[in-house]
């Protein structure tokens, strides 16, 4: 995993604090921030490498573009006259022409400086600021980073907060820490966060222990984020998915067999999740269909990939015969069945080590039910976007005596600009950030010497 950039793996693209996760498919053109390029040239280079896009290819560069450091500030502005952009003699058409003529970003920036009547009159600080702004706009530079929990969190937080219930990175970090998730834990998860939490838990399990992934509807809806982590195949073996609506039958003491005999019929007939009745699920589905099941070439790969298919979809299409399609579907259903059985048995033992819930559904019924499968003395952590729902859950849990050390928290996260003479918190900050409820399950009745 430390081997650097490789094909058929996901990387994080970064340009000017914009992040995007993308799988490097051979010969497939990637579009990012209006740049279009094929991935091949990056292969084998270390993560973190910087590239310039030229003629649809990635070209490694090693220029030190460190523009962050500007040593002076605080010059006064008594002689400043605002020119409202009239000082630049190159216009938009000129720039387009230059690009068509094959000018590099550096050349374009240089021209802009030469054609600015006010550049020379600016303070050193302003000159640098101007240069940085123009370089950002015109240099087709980008960086390929290794996907990590941190970057994948950041990516969703910045780009698609609605897909992770507007959770901030501080809440995500606390969900994992406060539930003591570690190598070998048995973790029950209910999330509608695109699989981000599942991915983070899988990373900390690192191939040992298990996740029971409860999910709305019949099939796991959107686990796209899990595929970003580039997990080794065996990690996926630890991820067992089960529809949430099997939970009450399980708690009622029904058998796996009886519960699934009926519903399996339905499942085979319609693969569409039944719960997709609001817009946010719709988006998830759309996403899901975009990244459809990978179709492998040889028969060994079928098994491997099918397994992934049940959990996290990959992105490739090939045309297959009907017979092959049927074979794959049967294989897939078998895998799913096995995972569901494993999930059922884990929950039935009522001995999970941790419970994490972060969804757009009201947490109360979900948490109160899932607490039943958590072992005593074990921690749970619930994220929800609105305080009121967690207040309700808080009161119910307090009253029931089923949990102690209950804490309803929010976190004020301040990011700082720490630069010489310009140190201060970021002027803009994310407002809306959700709440956490954490606690430890206990057995409220007295049982001296229970063995």
């Amino acid at each position: 995993m430390e081997d650097g950039i490789a094909l058929n793996k996901t990387v994080i693209l970064q340009r000017n604090n914009v992040l995007k996760a993308v799988k490097l498919i051979p010969e497939k053109v990637i579009v990012f921030e209006r740049m279009r390029f094929k991935p091949e040239n990056a292969v084998g280079l270390p993560f973190g490498s910087v590239f310039e896009v030229k003629n649809g290819d990635l070209n490694p560069v090693n220029s030190s573009l460190s523009l962050e450091e500007m040593e002076t500030a605080g010059e006064d502005n008594r002689n400043l006259v605002d020119t409202h952009g009239k000082s630049q003699t190159l216009n938009r058409e000129d720039l387009i022409q230059m690009k068509e003529d094959g000018a590099t970003g550096k050349e374009i920036v240089q021209s802009l400086v030469e054609n600015s009547s006010s550049f020379a009159g600016k303070t050193v600080f302003s000159q640098k600021k101007y240069l940085k702004k123009k370089q950002k706009k015109h240099l087709a530079y980008l960086q390929l980073l290794k996907p990590t929990s941190r970057l994948i969190c950041k990516l969703y937080q910045e780009r698609e907060p609605a897909k992770i219930c507007h959770m901030r990175i501080d809440s995500m970090s606390q969900l994992l820490t406060s539930t003591n998730v570690r190598h070998g834990s048995k973790v029950a998860v209910f999330e509608t966060c695109s699989g981000l939490l599942l991915g983070m838990v899988l990373e900390r399990l690192a191939g040992k222990g298990s996740i029971v992934n409860l999910h709305p509807g019949e099939t796991p809806v959107n686990l796209f984020a899990v595929s970003h982590f580039n997990f080794p195949d065996e990690y996926w073996d630890n991820l067992h998915s089960l529809p949430l609506h099997k939970l009450a039958p399980l708690l009622a003491g029904n058998s796996f067999q009886s519960t699934f005999d009926e519903s399996n019929k339905t499942t085979c007939e319609s693969e569409v999740p039944l719960e997709s009745n609001d817009s946010s699920t719709d988006i998830a589905n759309e996403n899901n269909s975009k990244h459809e099941i990978a179709i492998p070439v040889d028969i060994k790969a079928v098994e491997n990939l099918n397994e992934k298919a049940c959990n996290g979809p990959l992105k490739r299409k090939l045309s297959l015969s009907d017979k092959e399609k049927t074979a794959i579907r049967v294989e897939r259903q078998k895998k799913r069945f096995n995972h569901q059985k494993a999930a059922w048995e884990l929950l039935e033992s009522r001995n999970m080590d941790a419970l994490i819930v972060a969804s757009r559904f009201h947490p109360t019924p979900i948490v109160l039910s899932l607490l039943e499968v958590l072992a005593v003395s074990k921690p749970f952590a619930i994220y929800f976007e609105y305080k009121e729902a967690l207040m309700e859950l808080f009161v119910r849990l307090s009253v029931s005596g089923a949990a102690i050390n209950l804490q309803l928290t929010d976190t004020f996260m301040r990011q700082y600009q720490v630069l010489p003479e310009r140190t201060h918190p970021h002027v803009m900050m994310r407002g809306h950030g959700g709440y956490l409820l954490t606690g430890i399950k206990v057995r409220p009745f007295s049982a001296q010497q229970e063995k």
Binding site: H362, Q415, M429, H432
Partner: protein, 370 residues
Amino acid sequence: MSFNVCGKSVKENDVIIVFMGHDSMFPLSVKEGEITQTKYGAIKHNSLLGHGYGTKFSCTKGWVYILQATPELWTLCLPHRTQILYTADIAMITLQLDLKPGSVVCESGTGSGSLSHAILRTVAPMGHLHTVEFNEGRCNKATAEFGEHGLSQYVTVYHRDVINEGFPVENAADAVFLDIPRPDEAVKVAAKALKTTGGRFCSFSPCIEQTQRTCATLRKPGSGFCEVETLELVRRSHNVKRVYIPIADIGIGDSEVRTALIKGENNTSSVLPCAYEAGDDMPVGEIIIRTTPENKDGLSSSKNPKRAKFDMSSSQISQGGGKSYEKGKTPPAATKYAFSTRTCILPKEIYGHTGYLTFATYRPGLSHKV
């Protein structure tokens, strides 16, 4: 109207605030015969004359509210010539500088005049503001604005470099306010401007470095300053919204399952969503039951679904929803639920930092603190 005298209706030369929406307002100086274009159509100034403040005014394509100008509204829509100070900081500065009618205040720089208007509101008519600005353009614009707003007699604008030339008055001010790049270098001239009997000092700096130097300078023995305090305000404005939270299907639709859970030995009845019947403990919201299970996409098709509404803390839920299955009716799980509550939501992005406010008391000869 001016900022200082208020009529009930618009008069010639009044500066009014045209309010089109929370983040959409602008000031207007009413001049006979003039016309101003807005996104709701033209405003003929002539038809503004005599229009009652606080009432709707119809434009060709909609309507706006006509409001009296206040320093706070002015802050929200003044022409920005610099970074400006906002309400929370202004309020704290006004209080902590001990401002009241009659106070004499020195300010540098004038900037866009956001704070100046608030100071003038508080110190007028017996007090005076001496405001210093080193950018000549801004200086002239501020002077013109104060005139337009009927405030000229309470304020004098000076074009000068306060660090090198000092404030225009000595031993005369009750309070000094600094919002300049190197406030520490102006501490001395601030002391000079303040009354020798004492006064208050404030410096606003976006960066901690300026704040550090200012505090160090204020605390130097012999500076005359004491009670140095620094604080920062982050004001958050909440949106009040009703949210509909879907309730996931955990599989209690099956009446056998339900019966087993509620009456069974598993002792889990307290943990199920039928617990919504519990009544007394129920909370800050209500359950919406979509009574027509056919209407599968009720929630997604409309933000305000037609709903049978039951408040969970009333006993009605037991008749209309939760408990009904016990009476042999259709189990309510066959219907879809959503939980509805009012909540406060912060905007996606908020101002996380304006600046550090450093306050101090000037008390020459008594600058120690117990």
